[in-house]
């Protein structure tokens, strides 16, 4: 089996998948691509409908025996299945349901808000050519042109505040991790929220349990190793258009 991971700077979905790979000790060739420059749409990266139409927007691509796969949570599930390291998902069906619903909340509500705020704060320079998804192309041109909707911006900040409130509440019983043992839920949540500390600082004020959790995730060898793949000084400030904000509001 040959595996190649095309990843961007260790922030957002690239951070999740890099850290999951290292947690599981899975064997893969790492190929760095510049997601913020739109390199995912170039001929350098293998294409498939699942990459071109990934709901996640700009994220890493894992190619296994020629099959290109996208979407960080599901790539982490895949790595959990094939890697030998400790499990990244709980064993009991109900606890797995808890983890999957938590991840769904992060990818559906938090990730769109974080990437909206992220590209507003660090807009990409130009719209890449050959974007297959019409709606992703629209998010790129909006981001490059600075067409930012104030209502969406405010709502995105609220979503980040609510996410940190939820994490603080989840950890209220003194748990170290969001579900039980360390899991994909911790990785995916950290990956989208770490960069929000400078953009929405008020969300993190007086949240001691969240602060300790962020430090715990960051201190994991897998996360430290993922962060060490950065090519710039502040990977948490590197953003590219992500999932869209829910069209139903």
């Amino acid at each position: 089996m040959t595996t190649t991971l095309y990843h961007g700077e260790p922030n957002g979905p690239s951070l999740t998948v890099l850290a999951a790979l290292f947690e599981k000790g899975a064997d893969a060739t790492l190929e760095r691509i510049d997601l913020a420059a739109g390199e995912r749409h170039s001929a350098r990266v293998p294409h498939a409908m699942e990459v071109d139409h990934a709901i996640e927007g700009e994220g890493p691509i894992l190619v296994v025996d020629g099959i290109p796969m996208a979407d960080s949570v599901f790539l982490a599930c895949y790595l959990d299945d094939v890697g030998s390291g400790p499990p990244l998902r709980p064993g009991a069906p109900y606890d797995r349901w808890r983890m999957m619903t938590w991840c769904r909340y992060i990818v559906e509500r938090v990730a769109p808000a974080a990437s909206y705020l992220g590209v507003e704060s660090s807009p990409p320079a130009r719209v890449p050519e050959d974007i297959a998804s019409v709606d992703l192309a629209q998010r790129w041109s909006d981001a490059v042109a600075g067409r930012i909707d104030e209502t969406r911006l405010a709502d995105s900040r609220t979503k980040i505040v609510q996410a940190i409130e939820r994490i603080e509440q989840e950890l209220g019983d003194g748990r170290d991790w969001l579900i039980d043992d360390f899991s994909i839920a911790d990785l995916e949540s950290y990956a989208w929220l770490a960069g929000m500390q400078t953009i929405v600082p008020e969300a993190f004020a007086d949240r001691p349990r969240t602060a300790a959790w962020l430090a715990r995730v960051k201190a994991r060898p897998s996360v430290a190793r993922a962060l060490a793949t950065a090519t710039g000084p502040a990977p948490e400030r590197v953003w590219a258009p992500g999932p869209e904000i829910n069209r139903w509001g």
Binding site: D71, F74, Y78, P93, R96, W97, M100, V134, R247, G249
Partner: protein, 258 residues
């Protein structure tokens, strides 16, 4: 939770989110108590149901004293917690593809179908009621985004632009489904899976609702796939729980290829 603990599913029609766990339970052969909620009568926002699921979203499932929400996550739970045929493929790549398709449908394609469905079906169905009563019903909805959605559906205020975008996505989504089903027998793998159950709930009425985009000439693989799922005994049992004309649209699949 012991597999034998009792299961109750709170659901609306065998359609979209309600139908996903319903059909999964039937495929697994799990005996469950069916608790029908009339979405158009706002049963899901009444105190009895809010005591089960405070968010007021449908469906919800109880298994013993556990309460589960979010239809796709419930499907994975049902597959893992009960005996019966496995509905997630053994191959990790195929399992990834099942999850990829379910997310693509849940978060991209289904919202476009439902925007069209709500504007032509749900909105008109409830619009004729007393405005004050409707307003009070909407105010009882716990999730702010669902309040916005209901107001838009009832007032018919989806913009022409939003509706055109939904129609564009439906066309693109049909193309991608046809492409995938041209590559393999089932949507995400060579065995029947949760992705097919999810997809059928989204697409079973396609030849009726989008006849210009999905029919035996244009999308033979989608038609083959829908008929194969409709022929399964679990599907028949599941759709028998439908009470409205919406669920009865499934009979379009009784026809043979033209």
């Amino acid at each position: 939770m012991a597999e034998t603990a009792s299961v109750t599913l709170y659901h609306w029609e065998p359609n979209a989110n309600s139908g996903k766990p319903m059909l999964t339970l039937f495929e697994k052969g799990v005996t469950f108590e069916s608790h029908y909620l009339d979405l158009l009568n706002f049963d899901q926002h009444k105190p009895g149901y809010l005591a089960i699921n405070p968010l007021g979203t449908i469906p919800a499932m109880t298994h013993g004293d556990l309460v589960l929400t979010e239809s796709t996550a419930i499907m994975e739970y049902v597959d893992e917690a009960f005996a019966g045929p496995r509905l997630m493929p053994d191959s990790p790549v195929d399992a990834w593809r099942v999850r990829w398709w379910m997310k693509f449908m849940d978060q991209w394609l289904a919202p476009s179908f439902s925007m069209i469905g709500w504007s032509i079906f749900v909105g008109p169905s409830v619009r004729s009621r007393d405005p004050a009563e409707l307003d009070a019903a909407i105010e009882r909805i716990p999730l702010p985004e669902r309040r916005v959605a209901w107001r838009k559906a009832i007032s018919g205020s989806f913009s022409a632009e939003e509706m055109a975008e939904s129609q564009r996505r439906v066309a693109v989504g049909i193309g991608l489904l046809e492409q995938a089903l041209g590559q393999r027998e089932w949507l995400a793998s060579d065995s029947y899976s949760l992705a097919d159950i999810n997809g059928f709930n989204l697409a079973y009425a396609l030849p009726l609702s989008q006849p210009h985009l999905s029919n035996d000439e244009l999308t033979p693989n989608i038609m083959r796939w829908l008929r194969a799922i409709y022929a399964r005994p679990a599907t028949k049992s599941c759709w028998a729980l439908g009470r409205t004309d919406m669920a009865r649209r499934v009979t379009i699949l009784e026809g043979e290829p033209a």
